[in-house]
């Protein structure tokens, strides 16, 4: 066991044949699990639980099992495990599909149904006024489930995949999903033009993530890049490729672990909006030299993950033409998810869509085809109000034929700034109808049969 005692954050980059082997060796380098967990501690394992699907949408359960085993060796009092999903799935519905609670129950761990059992901290809870000087942070604290705030230690097990906004799924982003989905969302109701021009969405999201990090700090962070999705992510999409890197990154500080992870994967940390903002706000560690890094030599790793498509046109969903103007990261993120999900889940429906034009952002180019125009988001709706496609010419009359201008009905608008994925699918389904969308129809029926609405508050 390497004796490590330093005020600088510690991160270990460990190579091995299995993630479990990397973890054990990594913990060993950090001084063993006892450095982080004490006897009779109550521990919360925050995993990646994005969707009710398999790995690497979610954390590697075999790795989670190993952590559980280590915690038990440290004689902890109780272990909880859980997370909120990225989309609108409740923890209960994810559990129903993946059977996690019975699995973890067998291991003596409680899978927490965050939606049902644990209520949020009520507003009248006593908050140390000195601790949270900022009103915004006080509000944010109130949104975190009580259970998470009350545990002694939080261990973050983060599955790294490529991400459209932050290069890859950082642990700080993972930590953000201790907030219920409704509080994770950022929506705007006015000043759409300014939001686009200032790229306000990502700025607000980054601030919120950093604020949350100032409230909750995990004791141990595991960034699992042993396997990672590249090219398209963070969910399994049709274009996703799973890359085996044989590396696990373990650290005692989330930001430091993220910086090392980004470096290991060949990303430029100076271009990452989250790291940049942390630097601006002087969140420690302020630079790379402030981190003590053990294990593999980062310069020799050469893991370079293929990043996500930065341009929506590159996603190439059949029969959907993208007409993009100036758009913000919010619309880009949601359109990226929508197009990738359509391409992955609805390959057959795409063939039936005929020609469809998706207009996004401010001042998008006018489509040549006036049929099936999808206005994505408030900015596209406002910016295209005076476009010609709103009117189409129609010939009327039996004897004396006359050309008149009528309202184009082949337009459908997806509201919201940014629009939600759920609304987008609903609008598409309503517009094209179930006969043209047999696969989406089946997906809706599958969701109905799961009684998801019953569990989603």
């Amino acid at each position: 066991m390497t004796k490590v005692d330093s005020k600088k954050p510690l991160v270990v980059v460990m190579k091995g044949d299995t993630p479990q082997e990397c973890l054990i060796n990594g913990l060993d380098k950090l001084g063993g699990i006892s450095k982080f967990i004490k006897k009779d501690d109550v521990v919360f394992l925050k995993t990646t639980l994005r969707l009710p699907f398999g790995f690497p949408n979610n954390s590697n359960i075999d790795l989670v099992d190993k952590i559980i085993l280590e915690c038990k060796k440290a004689e902890v009092k109780k272990i909880f495990i859980g997370a909120y999903s990225s989309l609108d799935f409740s923890t209960k519905s994810i559990d129903l599909i993946l059977g996690l609670s019975s699995y973890f129950e067998n291991k003596g761990v409680e899978f927490v149904n965050l939606d049902e059992r644990y209520e949020l901290v009520s507003n009248d809870i006593k908050i140390d006024e000195n601790e949270y000087s900022n009103e915004k942070i006080k509000d944010l604290r109130n949104q975190i489930p009580e259970l998470i705030l009350n545990v002694d230690k939080i261990i973050l097990i983060n599955q790294i995949n490529i991400h459209p906004l932050f290069m890859c799924d950082l642990s700080l982003l993972n930590l953000y999903s201790i907030l219920p989905p409704k509080f994770q969302k950022i929506n705007y109701t006015h000043n759409f033009k300014e939001i686009v021009q200032n790229n306000q969405y990502i700025k607000d999201l980054v601030l919120k993530i950093i604020d949350l990090y100032s409230i909750v700090k995990p004791t141990l962070v595991i960034n699992d890049i042993f396997y990672a999705l590249e090219k398209a992510g963070p969910f399994i999409y049709k274009d996703s490729k799973l890359k085996k890197n044989n590396i696990l990154i373990v650290g005692n500080d989330a930001l430091a672990t993220d910086i090392i992870t980004l470096k290991s994967l060949g990303f430029d940390i100076e271009k990452n909006p989250l790291i940049l903002e942390c630097k601006k706000q002087a969140v420690n560690p302020n630079n790379f030299d402030d981190i003590k890094c053990y294990g593999e030599d980062l310069d020799e790793l050469d893991l370079n993950l293929i990043p996500c498509y930065s341009n929506l046109d590159q996603i190439r969903a059949q029969n959907i033409t993208i007409h993009s103007g100036e758009y913000c990261s919010g619309c880009y993120h949601k359109a990226y998810e929508l197009l990738n999900f359509i391409k992955t889940l609805l390959p057959k429906d795409l063939k039936y869509l005929k020609e469809c034009s998706l207009l996004i952002g401010l001042n998008p180019p006018e489509p040549m085809n006036k049929k099936n125009i999808l206005l994505f988001g408030e900015c596209a709706k406002i910016a295209t109000q005076n476009y010609d496609f709103h009117k189409v010419s129609k010939i009327k009359g039996f004897r004396k034929k006359k050309e008149i201008q009528v309202q184009n009905k082949a337009i459908f608008k997806i509201d919201g700034c940014p629009p939600s994925l759920k609304d987008s699918f609903c609008k598409i389904y309503d517009y094209f109808g179930k006969k043209n969308l047999p696969e989406l129809n089946l997906i809706y029926k599958l969701l109905d049969s799961l009684d998801i609405s019953k569990y989603n508050k």
Partner: protein
């Protein structure tokens, strides 16, 4: 050494091959000879054509071959036989060579490529003949073959196929024969049997044979160069000789060259009444088989996807790549129209050959790209069928979209009454040993048979009630249960059978306008 009857027959074949090669009048050849390794008698010309057209496609398309028989310990060379071929694949002469032609120290089955190169050099030097490939048989292989050949005349259709597949299975697993350069077929079978360690070729045949409808079939394997007709009477328990008959079109006095495929079917139908007659393009089958033999294990899902697309395209290519007499009713526009009025679009010419394999990608979402799936093949009625009492447990481990490992764990007896709890326990138990198990699926053999019968073999028949019966069986926990329950399973369990059929059918069949 090899069975005398087999050897005599083999020499006869070579003799006829030689005669045909020397351009003797083909019509003069009327004598029947036996297809090697089978008890089936056919016209000598047919065997010549098998060698000429099929051997180069499947084994080797170059000339001259050397057979080498070695001792079981691989130390001694017992026999060497040289076959000269004027046309690739068609042997015309049989010459025993002195075993000294091969230097033992330069010959090893462990290093076949180099051994082949040395043997080729030696034969070229001594006989001035360049061999294209060598076939090496262990003494044990000859013994097994002899045993089989002794009884092969008395076997039924079913027994014959099982015995033949068992020999192939054993010979490949125990490395009783080798071919160098190795043909794709052999590589595929070796990899397949190694990968599916506990599976036997005969098991797959059993599964298909059990479910195929026991009609009389006539299958025309058509190609411009060489067509042949196989008559199958698989219902019969008689000897193979009576169950399978293979004809040259000339034997039936039908000139295929002058007829289109519909006329061929009609003419063949006049010869074999009360039979289902299929005409299949030989080229298409060979293309599909060659694609299959090129698979590498573990099979990547992308390759499997492409292969399935091609396979399904063959199914939908009725009256272009395959024909049937009488044509299935489902292909008649009026019949289809009536079914469409009932709300079902069951147009088999529009099978979604490109969308169905895409469902494989969706399984990645549910199970993930790395997963462990346990399948319990369960027989619920062992009293009815005491031979099939055993339950088979298979654990499939996938990594990066490919099945990388198959395990056969043992489990305690399944509780019939409380299957749900029982498979939940099995999941937890197996997870301790093998790591996180994504899902445990218990499926009864009865349901597998029902699905194969109603959705694969009877795919040309609409038969709504038998299809609904299969869906009802899927809903019954006695026949199918899983933990955790997949969304599609929950949907099937909760919905009305007709609604399920109507929801899923538009994904399997492309839209079609009358």
């Amino acid at each position: 050494m090899i069975n005398e009857k087999f050897l005599n027959n083999w020499l006869k074949i070579l003799n006829y091959n030689n005669k045909i090669n020397e351009s003797l009048e083909i019509d003069e050849i009327t004598e029947k000879i036996t297809i090697p390794f089978t008890p089936i008698d056919v016209n000598a010309l047919l065997i010549y054509n098998f060698f000429k057209y099929l051997y180069p496609e499947i084994i080797n398309d170059q000339q001259n071959v050397l057979d080498i028989i070695i001792s079981n310990d691989k130390e001694k060379i017992l026999d060497t036989i040289l076959y000269e071929t004027k046309e690739p694949g068609v042997p015309i002469s049989y010459e025993k060579l002195n075993t000294n032609i091969i230097k033992s120290r330069k010959f090893s089955t462990e290093n076949l490529e180099e051994s082949f190169f040395n043997v080729q050099k030696r034969v070229l030097k001594k006989k001035e003949l360049r061999i294209s490939h060598i076939r090496i048989f262990k003494e044990e292989f000859i013994e097994i073959l002899n045993k089989y050949l002794k009884k092969s005349d008395d076997l039924s259709f079913h027994e014959f196929f099982i015995s033949l597949l068992e020999i192939i299975d054993k010979s490949i697993r125990e490395k009783l024969f080798f071919i160098s350069p190795k043909p794709n077929l052999l590589s595929f079978l070796e990899d397949f049997l190694q990968f599916f360690n506990n599976f036997h070729l005969s098991t797959i045949f059993e599964l298909l044979f059990r479910n195929i409808s026991k009609d009389n079939y006539v299958i025309i394997f058509y190609s411009r160069a060489f067509s042949f007709i196989v008559k199958l009477n698989i219902k019969s328990t008689k000897k193979v000789k009576n169950c399978i008959k293979i004809f040259n079109p000339r034997d039936l006095e039908i000139e295929f060259d002058k007829l289109d495929k519909h006329e061929i079917l009609k003419k063949v139908n006049m010869k074999f009444k009360n039979n289902l007659i299929y005409l299949i393009e030989q080229g298409q089958i060979l293309r599909i088989l060659n694609e299959l033999f090129e698979f590498e294990f573990p099979i990547q899902k992308e390759k499997l996807n492409l292969f399935l697309q091609k396979l399904l395209f063959q199914f939908r290519s009725f009256q272009s790549n395959w024909y049937r007499h009488p044509p299935p009713k489902m292909y008649r526009a009026f019949y289809r129209f009536l079914i469409r009025l009932l709300g079902f679009n069951y147009n088999l010419k529009k099978i979604s050959h490109w969308a169905i394999p895409e469902l494989l990608y969706k399984s990645d979402l549910i199970f993930g790209m790395n997963s462990k799936i346990v399948l319990i093949l369960y027989n619920l009625n062992p009293e009815k069928d005491p031979e099939k009492k055993n339950n088979v447990v298979i654990l499939l481990e996938t990594e990066n979209n490919a099945v990388t490992n198959i395990y056969y764990p043992s489990i305690d007896t399944l509780e019939e009454k409380n299957t749900k709890i029982s498979i939940k326990t099995i999941r937890n138990e197996l997870s301790t040993e093998y790591g996180y198990i994504n899902i445990v699926i218990k499926i009864d053999k009865f349901l597998i048979d029902l699905i194969i019968q109603n959705f694969i073999f009877k795919f040309t028949k609409f038969q709504l009630f038998s299809k609904l019966k299969t869906i009802r069986a899927i809903k019954n926990e006695k026949y199918l249960s899983m933990y955790p329950e997949m969304p599609i399973y929950k949907f099937i369990k909760k919905s009305n059978s007709l609604k399920i059929f109507k929801t899923i059918l538009p994904i399997l069949i492309d839209k079609h306008e009358f």
